[in-house]
Structure formats: structure tokens, C-alpha cells
């Protein structure tokens, strides 16, 4: 079903105008829901992170209501950013890519329904954590009663995505399509396993912790990695108007990521037999190979085109994402290789690496993709490039001001904990200056996410206003004609 285009809309800038076609029309509503919701959740999540970070400098800040205590705020923020922000954005980009690369129209209503279910699940879950019903498992804190909504919402969207792939125009697949297809299957599998064996029929003892680590690693490294890499590979090539550097490197990345990615989650201090951390260490080291492949691929495709980088905000976001993926990988490998691994793994260093992955890689790659996709869906040029540029710098600086101090805090804490002469309070005090700087990072990220939300909202509001104006014009055209005839 198509709607008539506004004939000469007063667009914000005179940039390259994109005429949406059928595929864009079919994607528009579900993707608007997904992207706007992800912007809202990113904002909410960053805000909660900021509040949590401030509590280090003033422990009694917002300590009185039970629902704002650090132990509830922090997991709530984490889950909001992860499930509400990043995963939704990733799903939107993934579905668009499947539709676009397959040349198939998306299932507009069904996808919107799925997206709404997912959002409902995230909302219920977020409020549930604040109410004290968190499951207690890291990255899986959403309470039991929200799981069904999340699972159903994802299944609806996942099945639609699989159908999109199945009905594709060409037999030969694009690189991004393999990654996204694997991701579509990956999430329900790990999510249902984790929920069944942790919440519904819990396994006994430390098996729960192993499962929770397995799930977190699969979600972050594999699922977000798959969709993020699909985005990176597709958009780097697209925005530079080139082909991806090497098909076989991409193939190697795909295979090695799904083979090794999910094994790296068990920390070395875990109260489990030695083979589990050993296998995790081995898998983390072997992940160096797909990361190397990504580096080579992106570098080969980019091949020094810095001029294009300066103009194109999307490209800046996506390349920043790719760079931070590699940085996060290096951090993880350095973490397992160093001698003080036992102490380092339970410090801020691991948290820094996870945040780098979330805010640096996943979020930035999705921002880049969304700034490309959304204007195309609504038939505008890239509305407010200026806001997007400011957002980029805020986000980039935010990531740097967040991660570098947290990593520093982790290293300082590690050395401090190894030195028995220092009391624990001394070690904690030595990390506090770093944490103060990281609060600034959270602030920058919050402002950046606010700008993102603002940008998207303006785009969407203007689009609908134009449509409303056009619809009004059409509806009242008869009246004017009659008035002219009378006059």
C-alpha cells in the first residue's frame, strides 16, 4: 500500500534526496517504532547510568528510595541500554538490511506488532528490576514475567526476518545476510536455553553461573557481533560506494565468530573446574583471528578515503564502531594474557570492556546505520546533519572519557589488590579519581543520546507533519476549487 508523496516538500537541507520505494514504505512503520524506541531507551539507560555513576562520589545521593539503590539502578540501566536500546536498533537495521538486500517488502504490520511486544517486555522488565524482582543473573536480570513478551516479540520479528530472507530475489547471498540470518536463529536459542535453565527449571549450584556467563557472552560477543559486523561490512562498502574488500575474509570472520565467540565468558576466578576458564581463555585468544580478518577487511575497503570520511557522518559512526570493536577485542585478549589475570578480571577493566562493546561498537555502528536508513525511509535528506555531527563528537568523546578511565581504574585496582599491604579502602580510594572522569563520560553519552533522540524525533515529526499537511491539502482541495469557482 503506498501513500502519495508530497510533491515539493520543504526539506531541511538540499542534500541528496532519496525517493522511497515500496520496500522503504513497507519498512517505515516498524523501523520507526524500533528506532525511536531504541533512542528513548538509550536515553533512559544513559540517564540511569549517570545516576549510578554519581553515587560513587556521593553514596547517599538518591539512596533513600529502595528502587533507586545502586544495586537496582545499575542492572536496570544495563538492561535498558542492552535490550531496549542496542538490540532494538540492531533488529531494525537487520530487518532493513534483509529487506533491502533481498529486494523484498517487509511485513509492515506484523513487524510493528513484534516491535511493540518487545518494547512492552523491556518496559515491564525495566520496572520489574527497579521493583526488586531482578533474577540475579547478570545480563539476564529482567524478571520472569517480562520474558514471555520479549520472547514472543523477538520470535515474531525473527520469523518475519527469516521469511524475508527466504523470499529474496537473488539466490546468491550478500555478506551481511549470512550474519543477520545466523543472528536471527542465535538469539531465541540462547535466550530460551538461559531462561529455561536459570529461571524456569534452574540447574543446581554453580551451573547457574556458568550458564549466565555463557548467555552473556553469546549475546554480547556473538549476537551483537553478528549484527554489528553485518552493519559494518555493509555500510562501509555502501557509504564508500565500493565493494567489500574480501569475500573470503568475511566468510572466515563469520565462521570463526560463531565457532569461538560464545566460549569466552568464564572468568578465571570462577568456582568451576579448571577446564572452563581454560577453554574460555583459549576461545578469547582464538577470537583474535576473526578480529584480524575484520580489521583487514575494513581497512582494505576503506583504503585511505579520508575525504569521504569527513563528509559522511554515518561513515564516521560506523568506522568508529569498527575501531572500538577491535579495541574491545584487544582489551579482552590483554586481559586473559596478563599475569595478574586473576585479579584483573574482577575489576573495572572487564566492565570497561563491556561498556566499550556496548556504547562503542554496537551503539555507534547502529547510529551510523540509522542516520543512513531513516532519512531514506521518510524521503528526507539527512535532516540536521549538524545535530548528527555533534552527536558523533559527543558520543566519541563520551566513549573515550568513559572507557579510558574505567580501564585505568581497573588496572590500578588490580595492582592494588595484589599488594597486600594496601587495605581494601586504600585500593578503592585510588580508583575514585578515575571514576569521577568516567562520570563525565556518562554525561557526554547522555547528551549525545539526547541529541540522537531529538534528531530522530524531529525527522519523524516533520515527516508526519508533511504528510498531514499534504493529506489536508488533498482533502480540502475540493473546497478551494468550489471557492474559486464561486469567486
Amino acid at each position: 500500500m503506498t501513500t502519495p508523496l508530497p510533491s515539493q516538500p520543504a526539506a531541511a537541507t538540499g542534500a541528496l534526496r532519496h525517493v522511497p520505494d515500496e520496500i522503504d514504505f513497507s519498512c517505515r512503520l516498524p523501523l520507526l517504532v524500533l528506532f525511536l524506541s531504541s533512542a528513548i531507551w538509550l536515553f533512559i539507560g544513559s540517564f540511569c547510568y549517570l545516576l549510578a555513576s554519581i553515587k560513587f562520589h556521593s553514596p547517599s545521593f538518591l539512596a533513600s528510595p529502595a528502587w533507586l539503590t545502586y544495586g537496582r539502578l545499575q542492572p536496570a540501566a544495563n538492561n535498558a541500554v542492552l535490550y531496549g536500546g542496542v538490540i532494538q536498533a540492531a533488529l531494525g537495521v537487520a530487518l532493513w538490511l534483509l529487506a533491502r538486500l533481498g529486494g523484498v517488502r517487509a511485513q509492515r504490520v506484523t513487524l510493528t506488532f513484534g516491535a511493540s511486544l518487545w518494547n512492552l517486555g523491556v518496559t515491564i522488565g525495566f520496572l520489574g528490576i527497579l521493583a526488586g524482582d531482578s533474577t540475579g543473573f547478570s545480563t539476564l536480570e529482567f524478571p520472569r514475567y517480562s520474558v514471555l513478551f520479549l520472547m514472543l516479540g523477538y520470535l515474531v520479528m525473527g520469523v518475519c526476518g527469516a521469511i524475508l530472507f527466504h523470499k529474496r530475489q537473488r539466490q546468491r547471498t550478500f555478506v551481511a545476510q549470512w550474519f543477520i540470518l545466523a543472528a536471527l536463529f542465535w538469539f531465541p536459542w540462547i535466550y530460551s536455553t538461559a531462561e529455561l535453565l536459570l529461571v524456569v527449571f534452574p540447574v543446581r549450584g554453580v551451573g547457574q553461573a556458568v550458564l549466565a556467563w555463557w548467555y552473556a557472552e553469546n549475546l554480547l560477543t556473538v549476537w551483537l557481533g553478528l549484527v554489528g559486523l553485518a552493519t559494518v561490512f555493509h555500510f562501509v562498502a555502501r557509504l564508500l560506494d565500493r565493494e567489500l574488500h574480501s569475500y573470503y575474509l568475511a566468510l572466515a570472520t563469520f565462521w570463526l565468530l560463531i565457532l569461538f565467540g560464545g566460549w569466552g565468558g568464564i572468568p578465571v576466578t570462577a568456582p568451576v573446574p579448571a577446564w572452563m576458564p581454560a577453554v574460555s581463555t583459549v576461545a578469547t585468544m582464538l577470537m583474535a583471528i576473526p578480529l584480524l580478518a575484520v580489521a583487514l577487511n575494513v581497512h582494505g575497503t576503506f583504503a585511505g578515503r579520508f575525504a569521504a570520511l569527513k563528509e559522511n557522518v554515518s561513515l564516521q559512526f560506523v568506522l568508529f564502531g569498527a575501531a572500538t570493536l577491535l579495541a574491545a577485542g584487544v582489551m579482552k585478549i590483554a586481559g586473559v594474557l596478563c599475569d595478574a589475570q586473576q585479579e584483573l578480571v574482577l575489576t573495572w577493566f572487564t566492565s570497561a570492556r563491556t561498556q566499550l562493546y556496548l556504547f562503542g561498537f554496537s551503539a555507534m555502528a547502529m547510529f551510523g546505520a540509522i542516520y543512513y536508513i531513516l532519512p531514506r525511509l521518510v524521503g528526507a535528506g539527512c535532516a540536521s546533519t549538524k545535530l548528527a555531527r555533534v552527536h558523533f563528537w559527543l558520543a566519541a568523546l563520551g566513549v573515550i572519557f568513559l572507557i579510558v578511565p574505567l580501564a585505568g581504574a581497573g588496572i590500578v585496582e588490580c595492582f592494588g589488590l595484589q599488594n597486600v599491604k594496601l587495605s581494601f579502602m586504600d585500593v578503592l580510594k585510588s580508583t575514585l579519581p578515575f571514576l569521577r572522569v568516567s562520570t563525565v563520560g556518562y554525561l557526554l553519552l547522555l547528551v549525545g543520546n539526547a541529541l540522537f533522540l531529538l534528531n530522530l524525533s524531529r525527522l519523524v515529526v516533520e515527516f508526519y507533519r508533511e504528510r498531514a499537511a499534504a493529506a489536508l491539502a488533498i482533502a480540502t482541495a475540493d473546497l478551494f476549487k468550489q471557492a474559486e469557482a464561486k469567486a
Binding site: 553515587k55 553514596p59 547517599s60 539512596a63 533513600s64 539503590t69 545502586y70 544495586g71 537496582r72 545499575q74 542492572p75 526488586g132 533474577t135 540475579g136 543473573f137 527466504h166 539466490q171 547471498t173 545476510q177 549470512w178 540470518l181 545466523a182 542465535w186 536459542w189 536455553t193 540447574v203 543446581r204 549450584g205 554453580v206 551451573g207 547457574q208 553461573a209 556458568v210 550458564l211 555463557w214 553469546n218 563469520f254 565462521w255 560463531i258 565457532l259 560464545g262 565468558g265 568464564i266 578465571v268 576466578t269 570462577a270 568456582p271 568451576v272 573446574p273 577453554v279 586473576q342 585479579e343 574482577l346 575489576t347 566492565s351 589488590l417 597486600v420 581494601f424 579502602m425 578503592l428
Partner: protein, 305 residues
């Protein structure tokens, strides 16, 4: 890859491998664990937490304590000490052996050492050396044993006597091992800090007993109520700046008491086959028991190796 099914199959295979390796195998190895026995004493381990402590575990979960505290400690190595426990029948021979093993001791020092048994004679040796030295000291009925000592930064910091193992969490749900040490590790806090009142004060106003702590106060776990028929035994004793106005008292709610019951039940120091350590046996002869106030090992004047 040209075909969809191939992508699906590769994802399926990788997923299956991951599931087999880190879901099924841990479940088989760790999920079906049964109780075990402690070393030497043969007591069953672990016993389930008492009911109130289990409620406390739920409170721990509901307030996200695992965001700041871990319950896992590591161990970097195991060394052996040699402990001389009993003199036996021939002190002269033992003195000789002792001075062989500890050339740094003078005659008088060695004699006075023999008067204060049990004593750690050598520290920090690898197992074979410790065994040899113990055998060398076991002459004429004297008793010298190699004493197993786990070492590591966490253990040195007093957070535990040995690493945490799967048995320590056998009956807990959910198992919250924590990932950040914003606060100290709690796996043995029931040993370090067994006074429930300390914990209650700490929850109410962490900065009272721990200067500069970043732990938020959990005042909502307490209630201020009018003193009716006399001060309640549960009432917290607080300094003047935090004390409630006259006629009122601060009492912990059930949640707080449950949480503290859980915290004081946390201990992971039983010697097990998978995490051996030597603990002083209960005294059965009239030999003096070792000094148990700070560490497990008896008193020592040994030079650390």
C-alpha cells in the same frame, strides 16, 4: 555462501558445539554435584543454609548486592609448611634433626622452639620438599606433618583460606558470584565478621564503621518507631548525629535481619579434596592446640621462604 540452509546449518553446528561445551557439560559435571565430605573430619559439605539465611539470599538478590560485591576468590598456588607437633621419645635426636633442617637456629633457639610446640618450622615449600623435611623431622616418635597452605592475593588479604569451589554454592539459588569488587569479597564474610550487629550498623550507615566507604546506606531496610514498652533488643546503637530523636528507636525490618543472617552464614573454608588445605585438628591429646586466632597454621618463628 550461496544458500540459506548452509548458513543455518553452520549456525546450528556452532550453536550446538557451544551448547554442548558450556551448557551440557557443566550441567553434567557441576549441576549434578552431590554433597561431599570434608577432609580428615569427614563432615558432610555443604549443608544447606538455614531458612532465614535463604530468605536473606533473596534479599541480597532483590537489592542487587552482587553489583558491588563478589563471592568468588581465587588462589594462585598451594605451598606447604612443615609443622612440628610432638616431641616424641628422644629430644636430642629431634634437636639434631631440627638443626639440620633449620641451620639458622642456634641451640638455645631450637630448644625453646621445642618447648612451644606445635610450631611451623619451615614455610612456603613445594610438596616434595615439605614431605622430605617432615620425614626427616619424624624421628623417635616425634610428629612433623606437611601443612597444606593455599596462597594468592585474595587469600593474603584475608578474604578466605582457600579458593571458592562449586561445592560452596551447591544449594543456593540464584548463585550470584558478582563481577566487580567495588566492595570487598563476601565469600567468607561470615568468618571475618560474624557479629550481626556490625552488619546491621553497616547497612544503616556504612561510613560509620568503614571510613570513606562508597556503599550506599540502606535506611529503607530499617524503620524508626516509637519506644513503647522499653528499648527493643534489636534497636541499633548509633552515634548522636545519626541517632533518632528521643523516644524513638531504629529497628531492622525482617528483610534486614534475613540479609544479615545470610551474610553471617557465608563461609567457604572447609577443606575439601578439590581444594585441600590443612586445618588444625581438634585437640585429642594433652598437647597444646595451635594458635587459631588469625590463621590456620600454628605459631611460627620460621623464616618465610
Amino acid at each position: 555462501m550461496r544458500y540459506g540452509p548452509l548458513v543455518f546449518l553452520s549456525a546450528f553446528f556452532a550453536m550446538g558445539a557451544s551448547w554442548f561445551g558450556f551448557v551440557l557439560m557443566p550441567h553434567v559435571q557441576v549441576g549434578f554435584l552431590q554433597q561431599t565430605n570434608t577432609l580428615l573430619a569427614g563432615a558432610t559439605y555443604p549443608v544447606g543454609r538455614p531458612g532465614f539465611a535463604r530468605e536473606g539470599l533473596d534479599v541480597y538478590r532483590a537489592y542487587g548486592c552482587a553489583s558491588c560485591h563478589t563471592e568468588q576468590i581465587g588462589q594462585t598456588a598451594t605451598v606447604c609448611d612443615v609443622v612440628l607437633e610432638k616431641v616424641g621419645t628422644n629430644q636430642a635426636v629431634l634437636l639434631n634433626a631440627l638443626r639440620n633442617v633449620r641451620p639458622d637456629l642456634s641451640e638455645t633457639q631450637a630448644k625453646s622452639l621445642l618447648d612451644q610446640l606445635p610450631q611451623t618450622v619451615l614455610q612456603g615449600l613445594p610438596k616434595e620438599q615439605a614431605d622430605e623435611n617432615a620425614k626427616a623431622l619424624s624421628v623417635a616418635g616425634s610428629k612433623a606433618t606437611p601443612w597444606i597452605v593455599p596462597v594468592g592475593p585474595d587469600i593474603a588479604r584475608g578474604w578466605g583460606k582457600r579458593r571458592t569451589v562449586a561445592y560452596d554454592f551447591l544449594y543456593d539459588y540464584p548463585v550470584m558470584l558478582g563481577a566487580e569488587r567495588i566492595g570487598p569479597d563476601l565469600s567468607n564474610v561470615g568468618v571475618r565478621q560474624s557479629d550481626p550487629n556490625w552488619h546491621l550498623r553497616h547497612l544503616y550507615a556504612p561510613q560509620l564503621d568503614v571510613q570513606g566507604s562508597t556503599m550506599p546506606p540502606f535506611r529503607f531496610l530499617f524503620e524508626k518507631r516509637k519506644i513503647e514498652r522499653g528499648v527493643s533488643p534489636d534497636a541499633l546503637s548509633l552515634p548522636p548525629e545519626l541517632a533518632p530523636p528521643a523516644g524513638y528507636e531504629i529497628v531492622p525490618k525482617t528483610e534486614a535481619k534475613a540479609l544479615v543472617a545470610y551474610l553471617t552464614s557465608l563461609r567457604a573454608d572447609a577443606p575439601l579434596f578439590v581444594a585441600p588445605l590443612s586445618v588444625a585438628a581438634p585437640p585429642e591429646t594433652n598437647a597444646p592446640a595451635g594458635d587459631m586466632s588469625s590463621t590456620n597454621s600454628p605459631a611460627t618463628n620460621a623464616t618465610a621462604k
